[in-house]
């Protein structure tokens, strides 16, 4: 149990030192990584631990980003207030949706979440006078921890204070999620994933637990979305489109959803991979699709699974 925490601490230190060694461009790229990683921590509670594949999870990213846009539009300057507000909003919205969705599993759960996601997308897209339609809503600059950092321009702010802030958020998010999945509650979720009927027989309220996982994952998604919205300065409906939900699933599978750190690895690999492919070829989607197909067919455990296999191989040799 202790080894992963040591590794996590080392990795966190490396990330904290990163701005001293890596060009600002890559530091800027880490902001969406933090955003997606936090969202994926939540997504994986649902997918990896509870066994429910949501194909509409981008909705909660959207709630985070649009929530930030609405709050800054109202003159709220504090990012912490925005985070609290979007977490609450996301949980409140996820509650009724989850109530309906968790009655299903497998492909029906996926389709129902997809339908809700697209419902939200078409609301954002069509109600032009409320949401700005396809041009989206502006997310103004906010202060963090009450500090303005007024002498920094936007880029400096993002690659400086905001980088550390998001790193901190990811660490806190990961610690909370670690606590959740290693608690009796997390054990319940895994039991439900492996054998829902038996869990029910043992007195577990299967739907209550699924609903709780859904709401928690929605809250994490909103935090990720707020970070993404802050970085771009814009909340636009593309963030909520079903292909974006597919991208979240892609990241989780790329990293390996069976592992706690898989989603974080997946989000980092995806961001770097996409960035490199985009600079390399106009047809990066094809390459991403081919990689996804290869992972699904040949390496269903993802990068984290490969790493574990490699570790076992090395351990086996030395023994």
């Amino acid at each position: 149990m202790k080894a992963p925490l040591v590794v996590a601490a080392v990795v966190t230190t490396v990330f904290a030192l990163l701005p001293y060694f890596v060009p600002p461009y890559y530091i800027g790229l880490m902001i969406p990584f933090f955003g997606y990683a936090i969202a994926l921590l939540g997504f994986n509670l649902l997918f990896g631990y509870t066994g429910l594949l949501s194909f509409g999870h981008a909705m909660f990213l959207g709630i985070g980003a649009y929530g930030a846009a609405v709050m800054t539009g109202l003159g709220v300057k504090s990012f912490e207030l925005v985070l609290i507000a979007v977490i609450l909003a996301s949980a409140v919205i996820a509650l009724p949706i989850g109530l309906l969705c968790v009655r299903y599993i497998g492909i029906f759960f996926g389709m129902l979440t997809l339908a809700f996601g697209m419902l939200f997308h078409s609301f954002l897209f069509k109600f032009y006078y409320v949401t700005g339609g396809d041009s989206g809503m502006r997310v103004a600059r906010m202060n963090i921890l009450g500090l303005e950092f007024a002498k920094y321009n936007k880029i400096e702010f993002l690659t400086g204070p905001f980088y550390y802030y998001c790193l901190g958020l990811l660490v806190i998010g990961a610690l909370i999620m670690w606590r959740i999945v290693h608690s009796p509650f997390g054990l319940h979720l895994r039991t439900i994933r492996d054998n829902a009927r038996k869990a029910e027989y043992l007195g577990v309220h299967v739907r209550h637990f699924r609903l709780a996982a859904f709401v928690i994952s929605a809250a994490f998604g909103a935090v990720g979305g707020a970070i993404l919205g802050f970085r771009v300065g814009l909340a636009d409906p593309d963030l909520v489109y079903w292909t974006q939900s597919g991208q979240l699933v892609f990241m989780a599978v790329l990293g390996g959803f069976a592992n706690f750190f898989g989603p974080i690895v997946g989000s980092l690999s995806y961001i770097l991979l996409q960035d490199q492919l985009q600079s390399f070829t106009e047809y990066w989607r094809f390459a991403l699709g081919a990689i996804l197909a290869t992972i699904v067919i040949a390496f269903p455990q993802g990068i984290a699974g490969l790493a574990l296999q490699f570790k076992r191989l090395v351990a086996g040799r030395s023994a």
């Binding site: 997918f47 594949l53 194909f55 309906l100 009655r103 299903y104 497998g106 492909i107 029906f108 996926g110 389709m111 129902l112 997809l114 339908a115 809700f116 697209m118 419902l119 078409s122 609301f123 897209f125 069509k126 109600f127 489109y241 079903w242 292909t243 597919g246 699933v249 892609f250 599978v253 106009e282 047809y283 990066w284 989607r285 094809f286 991403l288 699709g289 081919a290 996804l292 197909a293 699904v296 067919i297 269903p300």
Partner: protein
């Protein structure tokens, strides 16, 4: 009143195209238990290829009157992509549904760039060549004959598919395989060939639908990912795996879209999802689906 008839006619045309794609989706899900996200990509592929095919055919002196059969031929020709893709999917039949969904999502991503590579990022269209068939009308009501022919073709395909599945021996074998794959295999059915054939048929339904729609609207990169959610809505409303469901679902979605575009433009897409969610809440298996165990 005639304006209303025009709207309805537009809705029915849309429904006819939707039905073809949804029927392909249903066929594949019914037999192979795979939800194919790439059905929208097949549709877009049919559209792009249809434009190219008709362009070349016209250069070789094809009469403009042959545009409808020409497009159907181009759709059927694309069937050659079915077997290799099915071969790819074969690796994951025994896996979890989420992996199957993801593999078809990977296909969606790859197809997007294939279209961009071959046909470019700008929308392509077949300039109103379909008007060669003229229009029919009464008073203010008018409808291109081409649209009417497509609707008739879709109905013919629906009837043909139904008769094929219900009355022919091969159709019975298909349904038996859908019912119980292992038992069918034990009785000597070559399930691999069946799967390959079914997937190809599903793909051809999609490509043909795309080819048929292209004289009336442009082919664009967005059409694949936009259409697939609509086709999804159709099969959820109708019930996964049910042909009759695809027909009813397509009619509902086509008409609602047409009506809401005119009366409540804001609700154009929302109305569809509201119905989808309503159906899933009150009839989880869809209007014509079987209740799941």
């Amino acid at each position: 009143m005639s304006a209303f008839a025009n709207i309805l006619a537009g809705g029915v045309f849309h429904a006819a195209v939707l039905f073809l794609v949804a029927a392909g989706l249903q066929l594949v899900f019914g037999v192979q238990k795979i939800v194919n996200l790439a059905c929208g990509s097949f549709y877009a592929l049919g559209a792009y290829f249809g434009i190219t095919f008709i362009g070349y055919a016209a250069q070789f002196g094809m009469s403009p009157w042959l545009i409808l059969p020409g497009l159907i031929v181009s759709g059927v020709l694309l069937g050659f992509i079915g077997p290799p893709i099915e071969r790819l999917l074969r690796t994951i039949y025994s896996r979890d549904e989420s992996f199957q969904l993801l593999l078809t999502f990977a296909l969606v991503l790859m197809f997007q760039d294939v279209f961009k590579f071959i046909w470019g990022a700008n929308p392509r269209s077949l300039d109103s060549a379909y008007l060669v068939y003229g229009t029919i009308g009464a008073g203010d009501f008018s409808m291109p004959v081409y649209n009417l022919l497509v609707i008739l073709a879709a109905i013919a395909i629906a009837c043909g598919l139904g008769a094929f599945l219900q009355r022919t021996n091969y159709g019975r074998i298909l349904r038996a395989t859908a019912e119980n794959r292992v038992m069918a295999e034990a009785l000597g059915v070559d399930v691999r060939r069946i799967y390959s054939a079914v997937f190809t048929a599903g793909a051809v339904l999609g490509t043909t639908a795309g080819a048929l729609v292209v004289p009336t609207s442009a082919a664009s990169l967005d059409m694949a990912i936009e259409f697939v959610v609509e086709a999804f809505a159709v099969v959820v409303i109708g019930g996964l795996g049910s042909m009759r469901g695809a027909l009813i679902g397509a009619t509902i979605v086509g008409l609602i879209r047409a009506l809401s575009i005119v009366f409540f433009p804001e609700f154009e897409v929302i109305a569809i999802y509201v119905i989808v969610i309503g159906v899933l809440i009150f009839r989880p298996a869809g209007l014509f689906g079987r209740t799941l165990a």
